[in-house]
Amino acid sequence: MTTATRAARVQLRLNDDWFEICERARLTPGRGIAALLPDGRQAALFLDREGRAYAIDNRDPFTGAAVLSRGLLGSRGGRPFVASPLLKQRFDLETGRCLDDDEVAVTVHPVRIA
């Protein structure tokens, strides 16, 4: 039996490895944070109200600004999305697809809480 002394952490899958981002307590349900990845890219991490974590690329493809982590989390038909804080396009957090433009999508990163 393990004792839970270590705080839960959010980890992101990168090159077949789990990359540690931060303690889960750093995340506020309904909001995102931005994380700098070793390769220089940025990921946007979110926690929903059930405590599930999601990660997508932080760059808003419509404006080129790294701002998706600052968007508002929402859900529609049970699927979570984030709305870009700039021009409000919505991105599905599970598939990365833009809900307002079929031709646009962002990268999704597998993420876990361990």
Binding site: R26, G30, A35, A66, L72, G74, R76, A83, L86
Partner: protein
């Protein structure tokens, strides 16, 4: 000056032209029809002095404005020896093929087989389809001409025409309704079998969205009822439900009613069918065809309006978004996350009622933090490159040299671009998220507070220098502006609030373009409400006159709280005043004469706000948790 015998000869018929002419003449314009310009006469100095007309008369004038039609841009075709029409336009056949069979032309550079050049988007799409089909060796595709239905506004007068507007079909009959008093003219062209062939609408083109899709079918109502104004013997209004499934609703993209009804929401319609993304004139009808039509709900998550949600939150003292969503949201949205529309709207309602319902007061506390738009979350304004701008409050626009120096030093040290705003304060642009707490530490130390430029809240109370310096001033406008700005700072509202105070009727502070504006009189203050600048300017209305200081503040308290209680999401006071039943008179009854008996309550709400106000930035910096919340990346 119109060369044709009537205005807009292509769109409207003689009757419609006459109605249009009457309305426009009534606006004080003189219109010459059936007349051409022979010569423009200039005076000694070379300036225009008159126009010689084709009927021999002369018209004195200082200025000539030309309006010319479109001319096809066909130079490329000419340079390469393709055949072009006499009046321009690359000649194409029914397959949109030019005189060189390997070259196609579509859109307004081409002259179609019917000899016309189409400058509208719908025929352009149709020609593109035809050309594509022809290239794919489909011999069937043909473009022989297009529907020129349009709806537009001429000097504010609605004009629409659709289908066979001029009644050229054999055996067709007209049904006409004309009322010269109101400047309305409506004509429907009916075929021998009772089918609607086309029509002209002038002065009132409301029915266009429904009539055009009915073209080619036998309408569900007798034609005379389709042209009569509502209430004048028109027993049933013709709703979009009565359209046949095959009726074309979006003529730009040729989308039918059944295709639209296969979708659930407007964004879905736009995405799946492209309907409503061309000229946009069909969007209203699309809205009526969708399942939620008539649904005034805030968003997909809530079936209530903002005002209804405000009442629920106030009466039931609901202090969290989750509780509101799970208890009062639409069935399908309960237990979910909400969305980008309702989260900030509910956040604002809870924030403006916080002291009264016992919710946490600070916008970064608890769950509130997750409801705010990024601007509210970082207490700064997001700019297009992802950086933020910072606006410290400068009440009434009055500032000491010491404070000016601090702003200058902060801007210099953090490399910020500075700009004086229209609201008499200074905007510092280009701050990175992680710099915000450092910037604000210095500003707060120097005595600055958040200017709430990021929030749906009071922005500024602008002022002129007033009595202290100006020889015309009759009251101390700067002092009043500062008092008002300090009283209402931090107040969360459905939209931003702006105000101004002028020291006399010369109105240098432009108070009449503000949500609430104050103008000094010899015996006190006049209060104006519902003004707006921006894209839809509106002059404020006078609410009350010659008020003393206390009366003025009491009326503004009531006015603002009544607005916050009853306005829709993102509805400025100007739009709210225009929308609510009874308009200005009703608002005056409520806030001046207390016709609803709620004034004591409105004043108490404002008193709660004033006592509980705390600067958000100072509070954020005091509390490491909040500081971190505002700066997570």
């Amino acid at each position: 000056m119109e060369f044709a015998p009537r205005l807009m000869p292509v769109q409207v018929d003689e009757g419609g032209g006459a109605a249009l002419l009457r309305t426009i003449t009534g606006m004080g314009l003189t219109v010459h029809t059936g007349t051409g310009t022979q010569e423009i006469v200039t005076g000694e100095d070379g300036a225009v002095s008159a126009m010689k007309l084709s009927d021999g008369s002369e018209l004195a004038t200082d200025l000539v404005v030309f309006s010319a039609g479109v001319r096809p841009r066909d130079q490329l075709a000419r340079d390469h020896g393709l055949t072009v029409g006499e009046r321009g336009g690359i000649t194409v056949d029914e397959q949109c093929r030019t005189s060189d069979p390997d070259v196609y032309a579509i859109g307004e550079c081409a002259q179609a087989v019917d000899g016309r050049v189409y400058g509208l988007v719908a025929p352009g799409y149709e020609m593109a389809q035809t050309a594509a089909a022809a290239m794919a060796a489909d011999r069937e595709a043909r473009f022989t001409g297009a529907d020129l239905s349009t709806k537009l506004k001429l000097l504010g007068v609605d004009v629409a025409s659709f289908g066979d507007a001029h009644g050229t079909a054999e055996g067709c009959l007209n049904v006409v309704y004309s009322d010269s008093r109101s400047g309305t003219y409506k004509k429907l062209v009916m075929g021998a079998g009772g089918e609607l062939l086309g029509g002209v609408l002038v002065g009132d083109a409301e029915a266009y969205g429904l009539l055009r899709p009915l073209t080619g079918t036998v309408p569900p109502l007798p034609p005379e009822q389709l042209v009569l104004p509502a209430g004048a013997g028109a027993p049933v209004a013709l709703g979009p439900e009565s359209l046949p499934a095959s009726a074309v609703i979006c003529s730009c993209h040729n989308v039918t009613k059944d295709a639209i009804q296969a979708c659930a929401t407007l964004p879905e319609v736009k995405k799946c069918t492209k309907a409503g993304t061309g000229c946009g004139s069909c969007v209203k009808v699309i809205g009526q065809l969708l399942p939620h039509s008539g649904d005034k709900g805030l968003c997909d998550c809530f079936g209530q309006t903002r005002q209804e949600l405000y009442e629920i939150v106030r009466v039931l003292r609901i202090t969290s978004f989750r509780a509101l969503l799970d208890g009062h949201g639409r069935e399908a949205a309960r237990g979910g996350e909400g969305c980008e529309v309702c989260k900030p709207a509910v956040g604002s309602i809870i924030a403006s009622l916080a002291p009264t319902i016992g919710a946490e007061g600070h916008v970064l506390d608890g769950e509130q933090a997750a409801l705010q738009d990024t601007n509210d979350h970082f207490l700064a304004n997001l700019q297009k490159n992802g950086s933020y701008s910072v606006v410290p409050r400068i009440p009434g626009g009055e500032i000491t040299p010491e404070k000016l120096i601090v702003i200058g030093e902060v801007a210099r040290d953090f490399g910020l671009y500075t700009k004086i705003t229209g609201g008499q304060r200074i905007d510092l642009f280009g701050a990175r998220v992680e710099q915000l707490p450092m910037i604000w530490t210095r500003l707060v130390d120097a005595g600055f507070e958040s200017g709430h430029a990021y929030g749906k809240a009071l922005r500024t109370v602008k002022s002129c220098v007033g009595q202290t310096w100006c020889r015309y001033g009759v009251q101390d406008s700067v002092r009043m502006a500062i008092d008002l700005e300090l009283r209402y700072r931090g107040l969360r509202a459905p939209h931003k609030l702006k105000s101004a105070v002028s020291g006399c009727a010369r109105e240098c502070a432009e108070a009449q373009s503000k949500d609430f504006g104050v103008i000094a009189t010899a015996s006190g203050w006049n209060l104006y409400v519902g003004g707006n600048g921006g894209a839809t300017p509106r002059h404020a209305d006078l609410l009350a006159q010659d008020l003393d200081d206390a009366e003025l503040v009491r009326l503004i308290d009531r006015f603002l709280m009544f607005y916050i209680r009853t306005a829709d999401r993102l509805e400025r006071t100007a739009a709210w005043l225009e929308r609510i039943d009874g308009g200005l008179d009703h608002v005056r009854d409520v806030v001046v004469h207390d016709s609803l008996g709620i004034c004591a309550e409105l004043e108490a709400l404002m008193a709660d706000h004033v006592t509980h106000y705390r600067d958000e930035w100072a509070a954020t910096l005091d509390d490491p948790e909040r500081s971190r919340a505002s700066c997570p990346s």
